[in-house]
């Protein structure tokens, strides 16, 4: 946390003189005038901000097109300078008549975790220090679906193992998302195409959304994420895989930078067995509709009425 805040909280009443009291008041006034996100993010240099423009940046939903364009340009310059290579930041919008949904074939999944690392590479997740994985592959004994008895640290020589099955879990992009309701600053919301996204610059890092999510779909940056420049994916999206900072919450966006361009998410392409299916719920000819119409599907913790758009099926 910032120096000024620490000063405010450590004023000792026994030693407080009038001068110290006034000093404390002044520091408190400064701290109060700083927008909430400023206190949460980083805390080095100018409270972790690289420019006034970044400091005064609005919530993404409230920005005018010009302000958005300026923010994207500024971020491109910042990332390009930081990583020493050209980084693009887009904010491709949602399409008409598109609602994204995902389906995963539990009969096919072999638990190889190729999806996990495909996601890490695509979405610029930290490689060193505190790790963040959007996808958690859970291993269950056959006949069991008790999450408390699942194992995510399994590490055999070969998969699949006899007597076990695997269930990858990531953000389910609920239609009735509890995380969105929990956010006190509206830094996370559901896009018209069904993607639940985060404005990392507006997030204050309170982690209420993480507490609200029943699926462990959200992750917190305890440290500044470390991504080697050579491994950075330079094709980024403002609400997606652009490099994040310490003190923000992030999550799977169904690879918004890919899916809004018509491509499959990285985990779909990484899966060697074709267990992962993705498409437009509003298109009657899509793969996802075929699955809903022809296969037995379920959603995890359906009784919570979160209405996930992530279906598991048995193909």
């Amino acid at each position: 946390m910032s120096e000024s805040k620490r000063q405010v909280t450590t004023v000792d009443a026994r030693q407080a003189s009038r001068r110290k009291f006034l000093k404390g008041l002044a520091a408190g006034a400064v701290a109060a005038s700083v927008p909430a996100p400023a206190l949460a993010q980083g805390g080095r240099g100018f409270l972790g901000y690289s420019s006034w423009a970044e400091y005064f940046q609005k919530n993404y939903l409230l920005m005018s097109p010009e302000e958005k364009a300026a923010a994207l340009r500024r971020l491109e310059e910042k990332y390009s300078a930081k990583y020493g290579r050209k980084v693009t930041v887009k904010d491709t919008g949602p399409r008409e008549d598109v609602l994204f949904a995902y389906a995963l074939d539990l009969n096919k999944c072999v638990g190889c975790r190729r999806c996990v690392y495909g996601c890490v590479r695509e979405n610029n997740l930290p490689r060193e220090g505190e790790q963040i994985h959007y996808i958690k592959v859970l291993r269950f004994e056959d006949g069991v679906m008790d999450f408390e008895r699942s194992d995510r640290y399994y590490d055999p020589k070969e998969v699949p193992e006899d007597g076990y099955y695997y269930m990858p879990v990531q953000c389910l992009h609920c239609r009735n998302a509890p995380c969105v309701k929990a956010c006190p600053v509206k830094a996370t919301w559901t896009e018209p195409d069904g993607l639940v996204v985060v404005d990392y610059n507006w997030c204050i890092g309170c982690r209420y959304c993480m507490a609200a999510c029943p699926y462990e779909g959200r992750n917190f940056n305890w440290q500044d994420p470390v991504i080697p420049s050579s491994e950075l994916n330079p094709e980024t999206h403002y609400l997606g895989n652009r490099p994040r900072m310490r003190g923000t919450v992030e999550k799977c966006t169904f690879c918004i930078q890919r899916s809004r361009e018509g491509r499959y998410p990285a985990c779909v392409e990484a899966c060697p067995v074709g267990a992962r299916k993705f498409g437009n719920l509003l298109d009657p000819k899509s793969e996802i509709r075929y699955i809903l119409e022809n296969k037995r599907v379920f959603r995890i913790k359906e009784e919570l009425l979160t209405e996930p758009k992530f279906f598991y099926f048995f193909g």
Binding site: Q131, P156, R246, G274
Partner: protein
């Protein structure tokens, strides 16, 4: 009467011909995974006489593990005896190896239906447009089709059955012993 036969023959041709072109246009697949040691088959078989009796092969092709309802089936049920570089359907229609999904679909109709819809097997390309399909044989050995994770990395991105490393145990990286030399806050 003769006219009826001619008509029937024409109809049969149309019926036999149409699906072939449809299928060829419908599914863009990468080249079939043919073994360079054996293909083209005609390089040896052109000079060999065909013995159509089902039997255990002892001289050649002994590396093929045949575990695909083998009591009911044998090479020439799928491989064509007259044109060695092709397969044939039960109807006698000959096909290229690149269209082998039609052959598999004769028995595995449910899987064929799912595959056509993009549900069975890996699909790449675009969710809103053209998709790339894999042949059944890219993941399943047609002679021994039970699935094992050992497919060709060119198609499926993997060649071995070892899983990627498990995730960190939360907090393991922030223990003081592990943090030294790394700086508390990254960079």
């Amino acid at each position: 009467m003769r006219r009826v036969w001619v008509l029937a023959a024409v109809c049969a041709c149309v019926v036999a011909w149409e699906p072939e072109t449809d299928a060829a246009q419908e599914f863009a697949v990468p080249p079939p995974p043919l073994s360079e040691d054996y293909y083209p088959c005609s390089q040896c078989h052109a000079d060999l006489s065909t013995d159509p009796t089902p039997r255990q092969l002892t001289d050649e092709h002994t590396d093929i593990v045949f575990d695909h309802a083998e009591q009911f089936r044998w090479c020439l049920d799928c491989h064509d005896a007259r044109d060695r570089d092709k397969l044939h359907l039960q109807s006698g229609e000959r096909l290229d190896f690149g269209e082998s999904y039609r052959l598999c679909g004769q028995c595995h109709g449910d899987k064929y239906r799912d595959w056509r819809a993009g549900i069975h097997g890996k699909r790449t390309g675009r969710w809103d447009g053209e998709k790339q399909y894999l042949l059944c044989a890219h993941c399943h050995d047609p002679h021994s089709p039970r699935y094992v994770l050992r497919a060709d990395p060119a198609w499926t991105g993997t060649s071995d059955r070892q899983p990627e490393p498990p995730p960190q145990v939360p907090g393991s990286q922030t223990l003081p012993a592990r943090r030294e030399g790394q700086g508390a806050g990254g960079h």
